[in-house]
């Protein structure tokens, strides 16, 4: 059944359209869910103030109504949505500014960290996975299997702490935060080196945490593909081993891996929260933790929505890649 290139394009666009609509619905659902959870909170930001004898209860009540905290839930939600559409994303009581300005900087930092870690993790996992798949059952495979199992059992929390310990004991790298003090006085090359030095511990932790699962999946995918008849045929044609693995087998194994890419973003985000807090990387993680303690509700909701946005964006990217890579997806869902 031959369809023209135009028809293929149209069907792909329709599929993507559907996925985008789906993503938007998910975002709306997530925001509603977050608001529902917030209704469980018996306290609010101003509770601390209530304890302060210098501030009268009337002031507290006035502040609460000024910020709309005493309104019923649906009203609060509508006001928040309006605030989002205005570009403010709610208001932070602790920082006394719209949530957006807080989010943007932190989100950028988290995105930078997670994107780098993701790229590195996949860059390592794919060749390693392909290699052990081709050497299935031999000592390299078993050794890698054992190490990934061990690595999988070490929680990220522990990984981060151990790495931090090593780095501090050996005085190898500067620790804490994103940049050292006096950053602005350095020239751009030194600035980059400083940034890189601060990145090493968080990125390494995230990469080590993601590697085991990625390697396992790549290996499993490759093994399945390597048993396919068309690989045997290609081998019979005398195609070299590396070409066989990377040009023939890997593209066929790409499908489940692309889906895995979308899913692994979730784990990476949760992991990055931990790592950021422990290493002091100024991302969404520490912001969320702070806001949790100070009951800064709109910041909490903003951060949860931001991270959900990242997740959905990641899985949309995976969908796009899937459509580009696998022609079956296009025609099936026409």
């Amino acid at each position: 059944m031959k369809t023209s290139a135009g028809a293929k394009m149209r069907s792909s666009m329709k599929y993507l359209e559907r996925r985008v609509m789906h993503a938007v619905l998910l975002l709306v659902g997530a925001s509603v869910l977050s608001f529902l959870f917030s209704s469980l909170a018996p306290g609010s930001f101003f509770d601390e103030m209530k304890m302060n004898p210098q501030i009268s209860p009337e002031t507290v009540t006035a502040l609460r109504s000024q910020y709309g905290l005493d309104q019923p839930l649906p009203v609060k939600y509508v006001r928040w949505v309006k605030s989002v559409l205005r570009g403010e994303w709610g208001y932070s009581f602790a920082y006394n500014q719209p949530v957006r300005s807080l989010l943007v900087v932190r989100a950028r930092n988290t995105l930078f960290l997670t994107a780098l870690a993701m790229a590195l993790a996949w860059l390592i996992a794919v060749p390693v996975g392909v290699w052990v798949a081709s050497r299935r059952g031999r000592w390299e495979d078993q050794l890698t299997s054992a190490s990934t199992s061990l690595l999988l059992s070490v929680p990220e929390l522990v990984l981060a702490l151990v790495l931090l310990y090593l780095v501090i004991r050996t005085h190898a790298l500067p620790v804490g935060g994103m940049v050292s003090s006096g950053f602005d006085h350095l020239d751009s090359w030194a600035q980059m080196k400083d940034l890189a030095a601060h990145l090493i511990v968080p990125v390494t932790t995230l990469v080590l945490a993601s590697l085991p699962i990625l390697i396992r999946h790549v290996r499993a995918s490759m093994i399945e593909v390597l048993q396919a008849p068309f690989i045997q045929a290609a081998r019979g044609h005398g195609i070299s081993r590396s070409r066989l693995l990377f040009h023939y087998a890997l593209p066929a194994a790409a499908n489940p891996l692309i889906s895995l890419f979308g899913l692994s973003i979730a784990g990476l985000l949760s992991g990055s929260l931990l790592v950021e807090v422990i290493t002091g990387w100024p991302g969404l993680g520490p912001l969320l933790l702070e806001a949790c303690f100070s009951r800064d509700i709109y910041v909490v909701i903003g951060v949860v929505m931001a991270s959900t946005l990242f997740m959905i964006f990641g899985s949309l990217t995976a969908d796009v890649m899937l459509v580009a890579a696998d022609p079956r997806v296009r025609t099936d869902h026409a």
């Binding site: 199992s149 702490l161 997740m311």
Partner: protein, 348 residues
């Protein structure tokens, strides 16, 4: 592959025995631990782990292991050395401080101990001089119990929703799966923190524990629900279910006898995967201060000490709870792997 099956069975048994021993030791923390978790020794803060010797200073071999008392160095703070004048043999089944087994039976017997004034700190002490080994065991009770209970909640919720969703299909299925997708799309740690934050912060330890368990367990229902739903969907289209209906079997009968047995294998594997995840969730929350706080020990707040720079750098034995966590993870993941392999080969 026969060898594959055998090794996986052996691994399963080994891991299961190991886990059982660990859980037993933690359950009987009162017996295994030489001291009580709240016992402070203000004059012995940050003592490194006591070394166990078999050969004394004069070169004699003792059959019974012994220790030397750690005394503070006169010149520096928090530095200790062994007082080699007196050997304190390690005695087993000693009578020491009182504790309760399972909350009802009183006992005085501890697995091991040394005579006063020496103290045996297998994992060192913290800044209040509390024995870390004891605190790790007692903390394990909290962390493991949280993990196990939360897993039970998640699996129960997931089983119910998955069964109803898969069995009745239609709009119930559609809506349930959409909600599940919503829960799956939110990054779990962010949601966990947010939900925990929205709930009262300053409550009693017992309430905190129950709250943690409820929150962790309830958030995680989506994945088991999806898995169970898939199984139920495929099982319910089998002809023997149709035949059962032909005899007038009720929905409950069909679910109980024909459909649920298919889910057991998956539920077991999910349980083995979820327990370590949920233990880590509790540890993370307590680490951040959103879970159990002092003085109740939990692996999380024990590790929280490491957030202080000087502790992280100088007192390596404070990492011990991390080792316990890794061992638990390793055990459960091996079991999960073995279950998964057996499930795929159709043994369960």
């Amino acid at each position: 592959m026969i060898t594959g099956k055998k090794t996986s069975k052996r691994k399963l048994i080994a891991a299961a025995i190991f886990l059982l021993a660990l859980h037993l030791a933690i359950l009987l923390a009162g017996f295994v631990a030489p001291y009580r978790p709240a016992e402070q020794n203000r004059d012995s803060p940050y003592v490194p782990p006591t070394r166990i010797h078999f050969v004394d200073a004069r070169g004699h071999l003792h059959l019974r292991p012994f220790i030397y008392q750690s005394v503070a160095r006169p010149d520096s703070l928090y530095e200790y050395e062994e007082a080699r004048d007196q050997e304190y043999p390690i005695r087993f089944f000693v009578a020491a401080s009182e504790y309760k087994i399972a909350g009802c039976f009183l006992s005085h017997t501890h697995l091991f101990g040394v005579d006063a004034p020496a103290q045996i700190f297998l994992a060192g002490t913290d800044n209040y001089g509390r024995d870390q080994f004891t605190r790790i065991l007692y903390g394990g009770q909290i962390s493991l119990a949280a993990g196990l209970l939360a897993t039970a909640i998640s699996l129960l919720l997931g089983l119910c929703v998955g069964c109803i969703s898969g069995f009745y299909a239609g709009w119930i299925d559609e809506s349930a799966m959409r909600v599940a997708e919503l829960f799956l799309v939110l990054p779990w740690l962010y949601v966990l923190l947010a939900v925990r934050a929205f709930l009262p912060l300053h409550i009693s330890p017992a309430q905190t524990f129950l709250l943690l368990v409820a929150v962790i367990g309830t958030i995680g229902w989506a994945r088991p629900a999806r898995l169970v739903r898939g199984i139920v969907l495929s099982a319910r289209s089998r002809k023997y279910v149709t035949a059962s209906r032909g005899f007038g079997a009720s929905d409950a009968h069909i679910l109980r006898r024909h459909i649920l047995p298919h889910t057991y294998g998956t539920l077991l594997t999910q349980a083995a995967l979820l327990v370590p995840q949920y233990v880590i969730a509790e540890v993370t929350l307590s680490f951040f201060g959103l879970g159990l706080s002092e003085p109740m020990p939990s692996w999380g707040n024990l590790l929280a000490n490491l957030q202080q720079y000087n502790v992280l750098v100088s007192y390596w034995w404070m990492f011990a709870p991390a080792l316990a966590l890794v061992l638990v993870s390793l055990g459960y993941l091996t079991v999960a792997n073995a279950f998964h392999q057996r499930l795929q080969s159709g043994s369960i």
